[in-house]
Point group: C2
Chain length 209, copies 2
Amino acid sequence: MSTKTRQKPQRDRHQEILEAASRVITDRGLAETRIQDIADVCGVSPGLILYYFESKDRLLAEALTYANDQFYLRTARELRKMPAAKERLSRVIELSVPGLLPEYDLLDEWALWLEIWVRALRDPEMAKEREMLDRRWVQSIAEVIRYGRQTGEFPSEGPDADDLAMQFGAMMDGLAIQVMLNDTVMTPQRMFDICTDVATRLIGSTADV
Amino acid sequence: MSTKTRQKPQRDRHQEILEAASRVITDRGLAETRIQDIADVCGVSPGLILYYFESKDRLLAEALTYANDQFYLRTARELRKMPAAKERLSRVIELSVPGLLPEYDLLDEWALWLEIWVRALRDPEMAKEREMLDRRWVQSIAEVIRYGRQTGEFPSEGPDADDLAMQFGAMMDGLAIQVMLNDTVMTPQRMFDICTDVATRLIGSTADV
DNA sequence: GGACCCTGACTGAACGACCAGTCAACTCGC
DNA sequence: GCGAGTTGACTGGTCGTTCAGTCAGGGTCC
């Protein structure tokens, strides 16, 4: 009866399609994404895509946030396991630099962000979703700062943790755009160094690499 | 004989179409921009658009950078006329906040930036163009800093002006995204205050509003 | 100055590619 | 055999692009 127990529950088609869609979006771009492409990735006929999603538009909207959501959950879980605030902060920076870690598809994450932003310009629902996702991420940074102040790793007399996290997050967004777009001057390593440096000055963390 | 003395040189059609195109792009978004729309804005038949531009794609690529180029030239001219570095810096901040000044279509400028970024992801030519435009803008900020240090308005013992401008520019990009997307917390005024505050701390300018 | 031609901006109908969405038919596990 | 899952051919609509033709202005020749 529940939606979870399907007759063929080997694969969760819904999720599988969302993953395929976000892959296609990162590869081809939102505007160039066709239902056929998504069907191809799933090894399935195009009709089935519309069987699971009311329209292409809805599917794409869901897919955009889906990947980011997964990424956040994974990261939050990972951070919670780290004992040192410095380590957490360093990891946050690492994960925010597009193309720094080869094992992650961080470029892809950022490419999806760009598409989310463009869509949010004219789709109020997406704008709300984007704000939620952004706020959540900035909150994570703020919590790392608070955690470090609590453990004594960071000096506690600095500015408000939320403000700090917001400014720091904004700078990382701006830098990430440059890195992502293959700026000749702003390489992943340079962005990492800058972020580490600013973190030291602003937060007082001497984050080790 | 010269190309300038046309039979009907009342209007520069080329430029007129570029302006119409960037207007349509800001209104409808790059992906939703049709040749018919651009023709309508010009009060002209769709055939004429393709008479002046080899393809829709080329036209859109040119239109994206055209508006930004105009904006830069206008701004650079304006800044040069201001005697005080503080005034220049304050103006740069003002002009970077989407929706702060009602008389400018700054939201539009930023919306075009988003489209440029998305396109630059997969179009190397656009990526180069974007880097040039970005570098030029950051250079303007760096020059303001150097100018202020020269005139003694800013303390001269700070970090490298180029590095400073780059970090400051990146933060403004990140903040502008939030403002532009109607973030409930990040209002234009708040962004302006943050930028002014950071400028004071980083550059040492006590920029008056 | 009038008849003629030429140029090139401009039109809009028509073509054709592309693609989202539909649907009748088929499969297969229960 | 019922129904959820799946197929893929098909439809209808939407554009980008083409192109044959119109028209206005200006130059040229007598």
